[in-house]
Each structure stands twice: as C-alpha cells, then as structure tokens.
Symmetry: C2
Subunit: 216 residues, 2 copies
C-alpha cells in the first residue's frame, strides 16, 4: 500500500520503519518541507518525505501520528476534506497535555480527537485504533505476551477492514481486535490514557504492556 | 469486621449480601431512616440498616456505594470529617451521568470522586478500588476467568492493606491487585468508565468482564 504518515515524532517514525520493513511505500509528512528528522529518516529507510499535503496526496491510507490536540490542524494543512475524501485515515493519536506537570486531556468526556477528525473531514473514512498502547507495541504486539486486546472504532466498516488487515501485518491476531462500534467510541479509548499512564508508572515505567479483555 | 455501607442500590446490596455471607457485621445506610429497600434487605440478611450516620457510627470500614456525584454529600450527611476520622473509606463509586442519553462523567480530567472525598474529609483514610468492574464482579471475581486485574489507590498504606485483605476475602488474589499509588490515581480509574461501557456494549451487554494487565 501507499501510506502517508502525518507526524515525524517517535510514533510517526516507528510506523514508518515498520511499514518499510513490510515493504509498503511510505511518505513521512511534516509541517514544513525539508524537516531534518524526516529527511534523515527517509534517506535511511528508502522512503519519501515531504509536507503533510505530500504525504496525503498519493496515499491509499493516511496515519495520523501527530499529537492529538494538533490533529485537526495537521489534516487541514494536508488539504482538508477534499484531499482526504474517500481515504482511510487511521488515527492513533491522543490529546495529551503534560504542560501543567500532570496529564490533562485537551478534549474528553463530551468529545474526542477521533470525533473531531470525522466531523471536520466528513468524507474521510476515519478509524481510531492503536492509541491505547505505546508506539512500539502498536506495530509489534509480540512485545507483550498474548493474549491482549486492541480496540477499533469508526463509521465505515470497509475502512475498519483495511485497518484490521494492517493490524494483522503488524501481528495483531483477528481475535485480539475488539470492534467498539462508531467513531464516538474514540472517547473511551482516549479517556483510558490517564489509567494507561498510572499503570505504566506502577510497572516502573515499562512501556511494553497492554490490557486483555476477559469475559465470563 | 463491622462494615457500614452507604447506598442501598444494587451495588450497596450486593456488597451487603456478600459481606453477610462472609459473616461480617453489616449496616446498610440510606439517606433517610426507614428506607423500605434497606429495611427489607436487612431483615432478609440478619443485618442492620439506618441512616448514613448510623452506618458510619460503629463501623471499622465504610464502603461508599452511592453514585459518585452524590458521594461527598452522602459522607457529609454521615457526619463528615469528625465521624470519618481514622476510618478506612473504600470508595467504589463512579461519577456517571446518563441524563443526556449518553455517558458523561460529572467530574474528570482535573479531579475525581476519590480526590474529592479525601479533600473533603482529610482525616478519613480513603481508598479507591473496585470501581472498574461491575458490582457482581467486585465481590465475586471468579465470575471472570483468571487472570484479571483490580486497581487500588490511596494515600494510606495501612488502609490499602485493610482493603486488600477484604479483596482477598472476595476472591481477588494478591497478584491480581495493582497498586497505582496515591488517591490522585482515582482519576484514571474513573476515566476508564467510558471505555468500560464501550467494551460492555461490544460484548453484547455482558457485565461479567474485566481487563488483565499484561507486560512484556
């Protein structure tokens, strides 16, 4: 697949590297062209880089790996609804703000980044997934002993199928994917973040963990 | 132990019945004396009932099983800081509001019920636990196949030990209890509720589920 990644941070690069290892065509998109991190990464991985718009332009699938609070703005810069129309947008972001010294979500309870994106770009096929684990686990679930659960939410069933296919390539078994329903379920997935941080601290900073849903 | 339960709803009665079966001395506390649900339950289970203040007065351990948004008020009615001083207060509540037709938390992100209680009643030994599972699972974890995780948070280590002892009587193995730290960690535990509701719906309404924390 031709995949455009928005965001050149750790998560964006982690996706890029894993997707190149799976032989996908990858363009890493930054706010400005010539971003040194993006250029360096692209050279090292035989991939492309450019602006957010460059990353979206030729892509079959767009991955939003920007910080959640800037996601709508990044996708606007990428060309907005016209550029995104019909494309699958996998949103793995969280609206984390540690500015006060402790975690605050910049949106929660009555809205979420996933919903904001689908509202702002109604013709994009937004799918929320992977935001409930660390970037390393997102693309390499075997870092955590099975079984454990990954959530997915979105309005478009065929877009979710595309994402589930990609998750499978990363190593997420079909049985580990729990479909929560429409994009509104992003709310719970993002509001899990404070508990995620608490658990991570209780595990002495180990990032390689996840939760497994067990039912009786 | 002499245990006072605040709240005569399903959760309060579920705790009361389980604690009576474990041979604890139980007083079920209601907003007003003579509450018919409380009287009927107490007669059926050889237990006491009365006001919130009656439930707290003789108790070694107080369980807050009121709705989270009314918890501070209920503990005020029970006698406030003076009546609660030195007592272990196990808060199992969540600030759920379905009034708009969808779930909203009445407090989140920058505060939580657990923190509100500890702030309002500084001499109480508040411990947050069990709020991340359905009432039936709280007192009977074997309803869900092991292993799965229960969280605990609070400022007072010895109060947490008392609660962990009670959890053990319910069937929560020591290895299933994950101590998240101080009472501020209530925030993540309560903000998990929207995801809990989403999971419950994805499991076709099954309430007998929980999450297991797995680390690599």
């Amino acid at each position: 697949m031709r995949i455009g990644i928005l965001g050149t941070g750790t998560v964006g690069q982690t996706f890029g590297t894993r997707l190149r290892n799976l032989d996908h065509d990858v363009t890493l998109g930054a706010r400005e062209t010539g971003n040194p991190r993006a250029v360096e990464w692209a050279e090292a991985h035989a991939a492309q880089c450019g602006t957010f718009a460059d990353a979206v332009a030729g892509a079959d699938l767009v991955i939003n790996a920007t910080a959640g609070q800037y996601a709508v703005n990044a996708l606007e810069m990428a060309g907005g609804n016209a550029a995104l129309a019909g494309k699958v947008v996998l949103d793995v972001s969280n609206p984390l703000d540690f500015g006060s010294g402790e975690l605050r979500l910049t949106v929660c309870n009555t809205d979420s980044v996933g919903e904001q994106l689908q509202r702002a770009f109604p013709d994009a096929r937004v799918v929320k997934s992977l935001n409930t684990v660390n970037g390393s686990v997102m693309v390499e679930p075997s870092l955590v002993p099975p079984p454990h659960t990954i959530f997915i939410a979105g309005e478009d069933p065929s877009a979710k199928e595309v994402v589930i296919g990609l998750l499978g390539q990363f190593g997420w078994a079909k049985g580990s994917v729990l479909d929560l329903g429409g994009i509104k379920e992003s709310r719970g997935m993002e509001m899990y973040m404070p508990l995620w941080v608490s658990i991570m601290r209780a595990l002495d900073g180990n990032l390689a963990f996840n939760i497994n849903v067990v039912q009786g």
